[in-house]
């Protein structure tokens, strides 16, 4: 017996006795069964989320989340009501979901980050470590953002678990899905609320019981016009009921009652609070704590990260990064007293010699006397400070590098003291804009620059000359620098996704002649060679650039005195000591050029990024695809909820999303119809007149059935034809019926004339 109601036949039980096929006709209530499955999905989805959040005492709008996730679980389960709803439903669901996610992505992102941050806070407490690296939450109201994130995760879980539960009751997969992350709070001895324990265990228990009962769902191949019984077993000997909602409800009540009673009883006998009293811990768990701590703090990448995130900069190695991906986590902590409105550059790597085709810079520190040059500059400024020069100053900065081992120093650092603590203390003599102190390179017998600082490799000469020609004829160093900066801004847009430099090509040549876009290290590398070509000693520098605006978000360091950290001239007056978190977003590459009087100073020719290039995370990338506006999407959303001006853009974006989904759905529908129509034409073309007539007739009958309820009850040719020609007085229909019956039931092939006659009649009347 095929598993289709249309082909079910009587089953012979023994010679002379058959089980009538009407045995299979009994129908079961599919709707209630699906809702039952939806309930299991809800228990698992909401239970697992609540499990995690309650373990960490994270607050959110619980009623809203319960209702929304419950409704969504029911909707997901209902998708299996018909094949059509299953196929189209997921598509529509995806579209609507994507639209909503797009609209609320800032909230979801922030909520997700809030949950991660709270987890990391708990982890920091549990592992007793000091953690500086937290995700930046764009929206501060955690109650709201976590609610959005819970809704998002809950709906995703609903959809995902529905696939495993509604069809196969795959409770093992469900356990892995829902308990995977929930091991985190359990590892950190944070126990969840019993309500969510009951939900999780109840959901698993129901799935387990139904799976064990084996009667929970029709096979996928069974037509959705339900049958109550099906043949099972290796030899199809057993007749088994497919599913029975009343039995499922009975079993569900027993399973749930067991969990609902057991959990509180166990808790009453063995309360959570005192459960670990006297427990000395597991030494094997302690062995894993370092590893788990790394995973929780840095993610899995923490195990594999060979080069830390420095905004796509890798110590002078060029062209290997296709897209800069930022984690916005703290790479360095800088304690200083703000003294300038300008950027503060912290050098980490200085490249002197460019190696064409190897696509890297050789570090300046490898050159003999380089460090003396640097110290000579700082010493000159120190002399001016000690001579009480009006614009001279002395700063003490504490620097703690979180990521990596490279030492980062501000310009004009005379000395660094590693000390005992995590911070190194740098003695810096800043050069304020008005500080015209000349550098005395006689200190330390240093040489200000060498031939290497003017060297342009032969391989790059052609590319450099091409650009230089386009710069016009600037005369002074300032003009040249400005001309190049303007050219970059005008002709070579900034991007964080320039793509890798093709294998076998030179980084600078490829950038200047082909790619013509890139991020800071592209502009700086090319600029160094261009400046050198035009006679200006120049070097390539990587490090961090800290803007004045970042100081606003910094934390004040209490219990310190301004005078201990800064003396002398300050552009912004006396300030407090602050601690600035420097992230990989602050990583930068720039050029330093030599001025005969003032020595080496930083020059930044990297063009400013267009706003579209702020795309760094998944949601923003998604938004970038969907929205062609030039506003950054995150800002747009925030404004929208403040009644701002970007509401229209959000609505427009959401409308585009929904419209696109519907367009795709309609396109698919039309395509399927076209394929079916084509298949029909092929079938007709290959058939003899009898088959052709029956095919055409069935097609018209199908159409008629859809629009005419009564016609559905007409079961044979006579009834159908007589129904449609009640007013026919010529009795021509009798001839048509005769032709149809011959075409449909006899071996004779009808003639072409009969075919034409019957078909024209059918077309006319049906």
């Amino acid at each position: 017996m095929a598993k289709n109601t249309e082909t079910i036949e009587d089953r012979e039980l023994c010679p002379g006795i058959r089980l009538s096929k009407s045995f299979y006709d009994t129908k079961e209530n599919r709707l209630l069964t699906l809702l039952m499955k939806g309930f299991i999905v809800y228990l698992l989805s909401m239970g697992s989320i609540g499990f995690y959040l309650s373990a960490f005492y994270i607050e959110y709008n619980k009623p809203l989340c319960h209702i929304a996730i419950f409704v969504m679980a029911m909707l997901c389960a209902m998708l299996y009501y018909r094949l059509l709803t299953e196929n189209l439903g997921y598509l529509v669901l995806l579209g609507v979901f994507a639209g909503l996610v797009y609209m609320f992505r800032s909230y979801i992102n922030s909520g997700y980050y809030a949950m991660v941050n709270i987890t990391v806070d708990n982890a920091a407490q549990y592992f007793n470590v000091d953690i500086q690296r937290l995700y930046a939450e764009q929206i501060e109201n955690r109650y709201v953002t976590v609610t959005f994130a819970v809704l998002f995760i809950g709906i995703v879980l609903d959809v995902f678990l529905n696939v495993y539960i509604s069809r196969r009751m795959q409770y093992v997969t469900a356990i892995f899905v829902i308990m995977g992350l929930n091991m985190v709070p359990l590892y950190m001895v944070s126990e969840p609320n019993n309500l969510y324990v009951i939900m999780v265990l109840g959901g698993i228990a129901l799935a387990y019981v139904f799976r064990s009962g084996k009667h929970y769902s029709p096979q996928v191949s069974i037509k959705r016009d339900d049958i109550k019984f099906e043949e099972k077993g290796r030899k199809k000997k057993e007749l088994a009921y497919v599913y029975d909602v009343k039995a499922m409800v009975n079993a569900a009540i027993v399973a749930l009652a067991f969990i609902v009673v057991t959990v509180p009883v166990i808790t009453a006998f063995k309360p959570k609070d005192t459960f670990n009293v006297g427990y000395e811990g597991n030494k094997y768990k302690e062995l894993t704590m370092a590893g788990v701590s790394t995973v929780l703090m840095d993610g899995w990448a923490g195990f594999f990260r060979m080069n830390h995130d420095v905004g796509g900069l890798e110590g002078g190695v060029l062209g290997d990064v296709s897209t800069v991906r930022l984690d916005y986590q703290t790479d360095m902590v800088l304690m200083l007293t703000p003294y300038t409105y300008d950027r503060i550059y912290l050098r980490g790597f200085v490249g002197v010699r460019y190696n064409p085709y190897e696509n890297c810079w050789t570090a300046g520190s490898e050159r003999q006397g380089y460090n003396d040059t640097v110290r000579a500059e700082a010493q000159s400024l120190k002399d001016a400070y000690e001579d009480d020069y009006e614009y001279a100053s002395k700063a003490t900065m504490n620097i703690r590098v979180v990521e990596g081992s490279r030492l980062y120093q501000p310009y004009y650092t005379l000395s660094v003291d590693s000390g005992d603590g995590p911070y190194v203390v740098a003695e810096v003599y800043p050069r304020a804009t008005d500080n015209k102190t000349a550098v005395n390179y006689e200190y330390y017998n240093s040489v200000p620059y060498s031939e290497a600082d003017l060297h342009v490799p032969e391989e790059n000469m052609e590319a450099v000359e091409t650009i230089v020609k386009e710069l016009g004829n600037p005369i002074t160093d300032e003009d040249i620098i400005q001309a190049l900066a303007d050219y970059y801004q005008r002709e070579m847009p900034y991007t964080i996704s320039p793509g890798r430099t093709p294998r076998g090509e030179d980084f600078v040549n490829n950038f200047l002649l082909d790619k013509r876009k890139g991020y800071c290290s592209y502009y700086a590398s090319a600029a160094v060679l261009i400046f050198r070509y035009m006679g200006i000693p120049a070097r390539y520098v990587e490090g961090y650039a800290v803007d004045y605006e970042q100081m606003f978000d910094a934390e004040y360091v209490n219990g310190t005195y301004y005078a201990d950290y800064y003396q002398g001239y300050s552009e912004i007056g006396e300030t407090a000591l602050i601690s600035v978190d420097v992230t990989d977003a602050d990583a930068h590459a720039w050029v330093e050029v030599y001025d005969p009087e003032y020595g080496w100073y930083p020059v930044d020719v990297t063009p400013s990024a267009t706003e579209e290039e702020e795309v760094v995370d998944f949601w923003s990338m998604f938004a970038d695809i969907m929205d062609d506006s030039d506003a950054t999407s995150d800002v747009a959303v925030e404004n929208a909820f403040g009644g701002g001006q970007n509401v229209n853009k959000i609505i427009k974006g959401a409308a585009y999303t929904v419209a696109m989904v519907f367009a795709v759905a309609i396109g698919l529908f039309v395509l399927i119809k076209l394929i079916l129509w084509f298949a029909y034409l092929v079938r007709v073309a290959r058939s003899n007149p009898s088959d052709k007539l029956i095919i055409s007739y069935q097609r018209r009958c199908d159409k008629r059935r859809r629009r005419d309820k009564e016609f559905r009850n007409k079961l044979n040719y006579s009834q159908q034809i007589e129904y449609v020609i009640e007013a026919d007085t010529e009795k021509s229909h009798e001839k048509v019926i005769a032709i149809l019956e011959r075409a449909g039931f006899s071996q004779d092939i009808i003639s072409q004339e009969e075919y034409d006659y019957a078909l024209s009649w059918i077309k006319e009347h049906m």
Partner: protein, 351 residues
């Protein structure tokens, strides 16, 4: 009551999950895993205990039903209701019913395993619509009920002996292939028998004499008592009474089917013609002839229903061969056999 594992892999899988949880509990020492451990340890015990409890309280009943009248008709549906009564609070998602379905008259039998749910406090009612292609006595026997526990570890098997039956009358044949002349010959024989004084008729009532009544009808004793002529008003059926003798030979079920259908149709037509007939058949169980007089349709159905409790034999001439010895007075009768897949109705005479 027997217990058996439903699926050893399920048990092993559960044990693996339990072991994983034990390891997690040992490793994390979390209250959650402690609860899971207790639940995982207790749940199977409860589940099995529930199934055992159900199996010790469950009862069953089978009822044979026909859509219309007392007997079903060959080729049409009849029904068997298997009622499971579960007085306990506990349900089961898988109760297997081991059923034997057969036609006792033909000696055909087959097994059927049906899996049903079992509701708490109620049980379940399974309706089996059966179609009989052969006439006879359809019986459905419930031999065993197996109750699976909710967690799917074990089955508890309970032996039961419940039975239901439905009698299926033979199918009527449209154009009965018998020779009228043969039948008429049989009637003549019957008339001759009557003339010889063998009166098979019955007294319907006793009434006063009416001029024209036969003298042999006068009830002399009663007339003497009452001083008025009384006559026995006979239903003179003896001149229409026929003996039909089908051979219940099951050498080939289809031949027997034809014999039964022919016999049934023939007798039905005769009864509809207001003729009284006698159905005789050889009872293998009692080793003698059953002789049933048929006046009405219901007599005919009852006679067949009774006949279906008999046992078939394999000799196509067995009933006729005993006739001369057991009923020497029987001069002639209609003998119904089958030959080459077709019924044969013939007048047999005792020599």
């Amino acid at each position: 009551m027997r217990i058996r594992f439903e699926n050893i892999f399920r048990t092993v899988g559960y044990a693996l999950l339990l072991i994983i949880n034990i390891i997690l509990y040992w490793f994390l020492h979390s209250h959650f895993h402690f609860m899971v451990l207790i639940i995982m340890a207790v749940a199977p015990v409860l589940s099995v205990a529930m199934a055992w409890y159900i199996s010790s309280h469950i009862s069953a009943e089978i009822i044979g039903m026909t859509p219309k009248g007392e007997y079903a008709k060959q080729g049409e549906e009849c029904f068997f209701k298997v009622r499971l009564d579960n007085p306990t609070l506990w349900p089961s998602l898988d109760v297997k019913l081991k059923l034997q379905v057969g036609n006792a008259f033909f000696g055909n039998q087959g097994e059927l395993m049906v899996s049903t749910p079992l509701y708490s406090r109620k049980g379940y009612e399974l309706k089996l619509p059966l179609k009989a292609d052969l006439p006879g006595r359809i019986d459905v026997r419930l031999q065993e009920i197996r109750i699976k526990d909710l967690m799917g570890f074990v089955f508890f098997g309970k032996k039961v002996e419940e039975e239901g039956e439905v009698t299926v009358m033979p199918r009527l044949i449209d154009n009965l292939p018998y020779e009228k002349t043969a039948l008429e010959t049989g009637m003549l024989e019957s008339e001759e028998s009557t003339k010889r004084g063998n009166d098979f008729s019955d007294v319907q009532e006793i009434r006063e004499y009416i001029p024209g009544d036969k003298l042999m009808s006068i009830h002399w004793k009663l007339s003497a008592k009452r001083d008025i002529l009384m006559v026995k008003d006979r239903v003179s059926m003896s001149d229409k009474q026929l003996v039909v003798l089908p051979e219940l030979c099951n050498a080939n079920p289809y031949d027997l089917n034809i014999i039964l259908s022919t016999t049934y149709t023939l007798m039905k037509e005769l009864v509809e013609d207001k003729l009284t007939v006698r159905l005789m058949y050889w009872s293998k169980l009692r080793y003698e002839y059953e002789d049933i007089r048929i006046e009405y349709q219901s007599d005919l159905d009852d006679a067949f229903a009774k006949m279906f409790y008999e046992q078939c034999y394999y000799d196509m001439n067995l009933a006729a061969s005993h006739m001369a010895l057991v009923h020497p007075e029987m001069k002639s009768y209609l003998h119904i056999t089958s030959e080459g897949g077709r019924a044969r109705v013939s007048i047999r005479e005792n020599n």
